[in-house]
Amino acid sequence: MSQTQINGRTREEMAQRLAQDIADGSYVNLGIGIPELIAKFVPEGREVIYHTENGLLGMGPSPIKGEGDPELINAGKRQVTALPGAAFFHHADSFAMIRGGHLDLSVLGALQVSAEGDLANWSTGEPDAIPAVGGAMDLVAGVKKVYVITQHCTKEGEPKLVERCTYPLTGRRVVDRVYTDLAVIDITPDGFRLVELSPGVDFETVQERTGATLLPADGATR
């Protein structure tokens, strides 16, 4: 595909946009990568409790340099802090929270998302790659809402929002909404439906870079 350069949202702006949709009082698990940027953009006045699957609710920001504990880390194995009201627990309890539907929101990156909400984000399926899945399959199977935050296209310009995933799946029909540099898009029973365009981006541009039909926003006339 030949595409003109579009200046959609930056990674930080994507994170900031998603943060607006996190309700006060939510229990949230943020994946590794762009999702990690989200916490600092949650609007003031909202209290959000962060879960890290390696055994902590009430995760706070990185420690001041020199004050961290190598045994207080997040799922990305980076040092974090524990806020007042935090609780530690073991892995079976942590994933009981996840699998049992107790978390309100999981935000993950993606290789591909299908129009039915299938997610591929753990393996490119290359024969020589070391397969590693971590907690992603548990998160998408269990958490109440699953938001994906990702560039709309790969570095090579291939759409990541597709009719059917070609990469190995992380979960089937699990994604609720996708936040990209170009748009916010819901997964509906009818497929991808636009929620809103990034500033300066038009519908046709997003459709062109999406590997399946994009329905216009609810109530929009075209």
Binding site: Y27, H51, G58, L83, G85, A87, G100
Partner: protein
Amino acid sequence: MIDKRVAGPAEAVADIHDGATVMIGGFGEAGSPIELIHALIDQGASDLTVVSNNTGSGEVGLAALLKAGRVSKVICSFPRTANSTVFPELYRSGRTKLELVPQGTLAERIRAGGAGIPAFYTPTGVGTPLAEGKETREFDGQEYLLERGLRADFALIKGRLADTHGNVIYNKTARNFAPPMAMAAAVTIVQVGEVVDPGGLDPEAIITPGIFVERVVEVATPAHESELVAAGSTYP
């Protein structure tokens, strides 16, 4: 700001609807959330399915809820008490149904419900009358029963201390069914002797993390069921 406190037991149980499934913590009187149960009697909800290890004693607490005719079914491991005739009468007259479950299977079914496990296999009960109608299956030459996870609309439990985020610690053997029940209910209501600010509990020692708790009610001096029964109390 997250603050899960509600004003009192009445407010805490106000939305329990007719026909609800309600898990009630406690093993005998230890951990029985007696003030929440009394508030539920006052509130009036009926046709309840109650999941609890016992069926109460005397005519207070859980026994009083049964006596008031609000419970159409109990899921229970030991519905017999030396000093209560309430459940036996309801059972014999057919007004309250009983699903009898071995105690460990009951605990595990509740934990499974809370952990998103729809079913599991267990060796408990194989070859007994409680296996009737249940699927059996062999693993590595041993026979097991298939048991289903249990969930509830509400859980009423009792703790010693909570913070406003809903983190809870318990008192001794009053812990019993409360942690798995808190996991398995859509709305978990905990009565505690004292509510503290976040940070007031050691994060290493929290037994029920706040994610499993929706409402916290302070009941500073909870009644002891055995004392009420000894005094011949009834409720209401």
